[in-house]
C-alpha cells in the first residue's frame, strides 16, 4: 500500500481549477519530487496531503485512509512540514521551536530535551551552542536547519518540503541539499519535496513528478527524466 495516494483529485479555488484529475502514489521510503513552474499546483498538492486543504473531487489517501476521515489535528501532527519562510516562532527559542509538536503531543520534558539535542546535532548545530538562541539570531541556512529538525521532532513517517531551500544562497543551498540526503539515509523518512529547480529535483529525488497546469505530465526516476522528450520536461532540462 502506498503511503500517500492521490486518486483522481481535482481542486478548485474561487472557480479556478488548480489541480485536475491528479493521480499520484508515494511509496514508503522514497523522496518524491514535485517539479513544476509557479502556479502548477505543487504546493496545493502538499496542502492536500496534510489536510490543510481538501479535494474538490476525488480523494487523497494517507496510509490508506482518506484525509477527510482522518482527525485533522492528528493527521497534521503525523506529517512533518517544512516551508520556505520556515515559519519558526519568533518568540520561542530554538529548543522550544523544535520541541513544539512533541510538547503538543504531551511528551515528558526529559524526552523532549533528549530529542531536541539529538536533532540539533543531526542538523549540524551543536545543542550546547544553539539550544537557547532566538530565531532572529540565526542565519537563513541555520533557520532552515531548525525548520527541518522541527519537522522531524515527533518522528513522523512522512515529511513535506515546500521549496524549503528556495530563498538561500547557492552555497548554503548545496550544503542543505547534502544534509537532506544524509538525513534521508539516517532517518529513512518518506518525503514529498516541492521545487521549481530541476537540479535540486535530480539531486534529491528518487522519483520526479513533473506538474503542468495541475496535472502530472510524467513520473520517472532522475536518470529517465533526463532523457524525457515532453515539451515541459525539455523546457526544464534546458535549465541544466
Amino acid at each position: 500500500m502506498p503511503l500517500v495516494e492521490f486518486r483522481n483529485v481535482s481542486y478548485d479555488i474561487a472557480g479556478k481549477r488548480i489541480l485536475s484529475d491528479f493521480n499520484l502514489s508515494v511509496e514508503a521510503g522514497e523522496t518524491l519530487v514535485l517539479l513544476g513552474r509557479s502556479g502548477s499546483g505543487k504546493s496545493t498538492a502538499l496542502k492536500l496531503t496534510n489536510g490543510m486543504l481538501f479535494p474538490t473531487e476525488g480523494q487523497v489517501l494517507v496510509e490508506g485512509q482518506s484525509t477527510r476521515e482522518w482527525d485533522p489535528i492528528k493527521l497534521k501532527r503525523h506529517i512533518g512540514y517544512v516551508i520556505q519562510d520556515v515559519g519558526l516562532f519568533p518568540h520561542f527559542n530554538v529548543a522550544r521551536n523544535i520541541g513544539l509538536v512533541p510538547r503538543l503531543e504531551g511528551w515528558i520534558e526529559a524526552d523532549i530535551e533528549r530529542r531536541v539535542n539529538h536533532l540539533l546535532d543531526k542538523v549540524g548545530m551543536p545543542a550546547s551552542e544553539f539550544r537557547t538562541r532566538q530565531p532572529r539570531e540565526l542565519s537563513g541556512g541555520q533557520r532552515q536547519r531548525v525548520g527541518v529538525a522541527r519537522a522531524l521532532a515527533a518522528d513522523p513517517p512522512l515529511l513535506l518540503f515546500d521549496e524549503p531551500f528556495g530563498a538561500l544562497d547557492p552555497v548554503t543551498r548545496l550544503e542543505l541539499q547534502k544534509q537532506f540526503l544524509e538525513l534521508h539515509r539516517d532517518f529513512k523518512k518518506t518525503s514529498i519535496f516541492v521545487t521549481h529547480d530541476v537540479r535540486e529535483a535530480i539531486r534529491l529525488g528518487s522519483r520526479i513528478a513533473l506538474l503542468v497546469r495541475g496535472t502530472v505530465e510524467i513520473v520517472s526516476n532522475p536518470a529517465e527524466f533526463q532523457l524525457a522528450h515532453g515539451g515541459e520536461a525539455r523546457a526544464f532540462l534546458a535549465c541544466l
Binding site: 496534510n50 490543510m52 489535528i73 492528528k74 493527521l75 497534521k76 501532527r77 512540514y81 516551508i83 519562510d85 520556515v86 515559519g87 519558526l88 516562532f89 519568533p90 518568540h91 513544539l100 509538536v101 503538543l104 522541527r150
Partner: protein
Amino acid sequence: MRSDLTNDIIRLTGEHLSLVGISMALAILLGVPLGIVVARHPASRRWLLGLSSIVQTIPSLALFGFLIPIPFIGGIGTRTVIIALVLYALLPILRNTFVGILSVDPAVCDSAIAMGMTDGQLLRQVQLPLAARTIIAGIRVATVTTIGTATIAAAIGGGGLGVFIFRGVASVDTAQILAGAIPAAAIALLADGGLGWLERRLSPA
C-alpha cells in the same frame, strides 16, 4: 483649612483611580475578546469596528448626557460614568487586538496550523503572545484617555478629580482647578510610563 484640601485631594484621587481602574478592567475584558472575534470573523469587522468608531466620535459630555435617561444602565452616578468610560476605551483596545493578531507573520500562523495546533493553541501560544505588544499599546492609549475623560464624570455626579475642576470653573478659582488637574495629569503620566515600560518589556518579535 490646609488639611481639608489635602484630604479632599486624597479622597477624590482615590475615587478617580477606582473609576478608571474599574472602567479599564471592564474595557479590557470586553475589548480583547471582541478584538479576537473581529480578527477571526471578517464579517463582524464592519459592525464592531464601525460601532465603536461611532461611539468614539460622540463628545464625552454629550455621551454622559445621552446615557442619563436610558433605563437600567443610565441615571446619575458612578455606574453611568463607568459605562461611558468603557465605551470610550473599547475602540483602541479592540482595534489594537485585532490589528496585532492580523499582523502576525502569515508564515508563522501557517506553520502553526500545519504542525497541528488547535485553534485555541494557535491563539494562546502564537497569536496573542506575538500581538501582546500591540495590545498593550492600545490599553496604554485607552488608559491615558480614560484618566482625562473621567474628570467629566463629576458633571453627572460620578465623583473623582473632576469635582475640583467643575467647582474651580464655577467659582473662578484657579487653585481648585489645579487641585484637580495636577493629580489627574500625574496619574496619566504614571500610567503612561508604566504601560510604556511593559510594552517595551514584551520584546519585539
